[in-house]
Subunit: 338 residues, 2 copies
């Protein structure tokens, strides 16, 4: 049993859980981005006919779950899954909690800011490999309308943003993990530690999160004995363009050459030259919709075999910022192999 | 392996994880309550010399962790635990996240409102029984000052409360779980589903949460084949006096006689006849400090052998309430046996 724990932060699964279904749903700006054609469902506007951004975000999470379950061949209501693991960025996780009411199975709410996608996959994989579940449904979401008014200013204020600011990705991703079946497998996960490299500007989350990403990637490679080149692709969750460059530099300082096969989901999800999204995407949905909507499909197409998803989270709140605190950050890595 | 899953919501641990250390720290009102002498540390005021309620709450969580680790004989820095599982009520889990920075080990943030204490124990026990960890540190907190201004009104406004309103418990509880050692063991856990019985008044959380508690207790007894009498004590987390009475009635409707050996931590933590706390305590710390500070000590004293802790959570936010939503709730049960 102890063979699972191959390092202080890394687990290798004895019976790697299978991703038997996944789906990504995305908002209008993401639909117009370079991956727009990859998403399983897109919406023409931010409210999708509902009375608030929050209700729209919830509907997106439920839609992503429904599509992922359908792809996994699970059609019962409530679905034949043992756990629902979910999180989002809204205060008190209302997207996840109200979606949990709709899903109707045993639920654990998770919060790791934008790292919640890989936190959910990691805990889900452990519940399956540990013999506690046959199937687990994982879901995360974010929404530019609900996030902006909660974290910063309502969009209607028209406040200007710095070029390194990021744009919250609207959408949701859902994954069905199973003890057996057909699909890519989660082989390793490396759990992050909270780190603080002294960034206090909430508009500069990419810079705050880059060290956490590099810390976790370094721990993952050290503990698995793998090298950067062993992966066809390593993606961080939402460092965006400035954070991406910083991660490349920080990694180089530690003799890790992240470049050719390293990308950031927050950069991939938009066309930065054409769309008005500053440095790129952020939010739980950034890593989730790029992974569920695009990368897992690339694996199915045979274009990717080994993928490392490193979702990154900035663990601050408006209150902690106003009280003069730095932004602690975290990143969790999950290896997915065809 | 499948023998672990004895029902749709319940797991029986093959190698029941041991509680090798636990501690409770509590604020001034809790120190003056009937269990005041049981807490491992108490504070004379709500800010404990720091510049905000939020910083005080964080210090309380760190103090509880430090004391629980010391009791477990873990003195290294960072502590020799494999995971830190933590949650609290503040937006973006800042108490847990900033405590995670201080603790310095791999971390998962959890959110189940006031049910987070049993969510953390359940996930921690699964990480150990599944072979992913030797030791896990679990912690939760709440604070009347930080919670009141976030959820309701700053205390200074002096707004009146209804008799069924509850008073947020100030304090933190921490537990060190281990694969082996001396102490009571976690033998079963029953994971709750989100339920909504139509309560929309955020001051009436006890009524909102009572059905979730009864649902989970009923599922636990059905799936384990145990009866109410098999437990020396069943405690809910924070239903307080009105919610307690409602839980007893709802249980009776389902032919469950909860009475003699059933209590609520939110009632136990205060002297309702003497302290100005309306119907009693609420918050993550309610179940945590009563369990860590009092009940686990009663087990060590030989006065309790079988305990079922059913922490209860109201999964609403001020935004969901303002948007006219009901209060969905959840409860997770953890069986602790001497």
């Amino acid at each position: 049993m102890a063979t699972k724990r191959i390092g202080p932060q890394t687990v290798r699964f004895d019976r790697p859980p299978v991703i038997i279904g996944a789906a990504a749903v995305a908002g209008p700006e993401e639909a117009q981005g370079p991956l727009g054609h990859e998403f399983d469902q897109t919406y023409p506007d931010l409210t999708i006919g509902l009375s608030s951004f929050e209700k729209a975000e919830r509907q997106m999470m439920i839609d992503a779950c429904r599509l992922a379950l359908r792809r996994a061949g699970i059609t019962e209501k409530p679905p034949a899954v043992d756990y629902f693991l979910a999180g989002d960025l809204l205060n008190q996780l209302i997207t996840a909690s109200f979606s949990g009411l709709e899903i109707g199975v045993p639920m654990y709410g998770l919060y790791g800011a934008c790292s919640t996608f890989s936190e959910a996959l990691a805990i889900g994989a452990k519940l399956i490999d540990g013999g506690f579940a046959d199937r687990v449904l994982c879901a995360v979401s974010s929404h530019v309308g609900s996030a902006e008014r909660q974290y910063r200013y309502p969009t209607e204020y028209g406040s200007q943003k710095k070029p390194y600011a990021q744009h919250t990705v609207t959408g949701a991703g859902a994954v069905v993990l199973a003890a057996s079946g057909t699909g890519p497998r989660i082989t390793y996960c490396t759990t992050g530690k909270v780190v603080d490299y002294g960034v206090a500007d909430p508009f500069n989350q990419g810079a705050a999160m880059a060290p956490a990403a590099v810390d976790t990637i370094e721990a993952h490679l050290r503990e698995t004995g793998r090298s950067v080149e062993d992966y066809d692709l390593i993606v961080t969750g939402d460092l965006a363009s400035f954070g991406y460059e910083m991660a490349v530099k920080l990694a180089a300082d530690r003799n890790l050459r992240l470049a050719k096969n390293y990308r950031d989901c927050g950069v991939m999800v938009y066309d930065l030259s054409r769309q008005n999204v500053n440095a790129g995407g952020s939010g739980c949905a950034s890593s989730a919709i790029v992974t569920c909507g695009h990368l897992l499909k690339e694996m199915a197409r045979g274009r990717l075999r080994r993928l490392l998803v490193v979702a990154t989270g900035a663990l601050f709140s408006p209150t902690s910022f106003q009280q003069g605190e730095n932004i602690p950050t975290i990143a969790h890595a999950v290896a997915v192999e065809a």
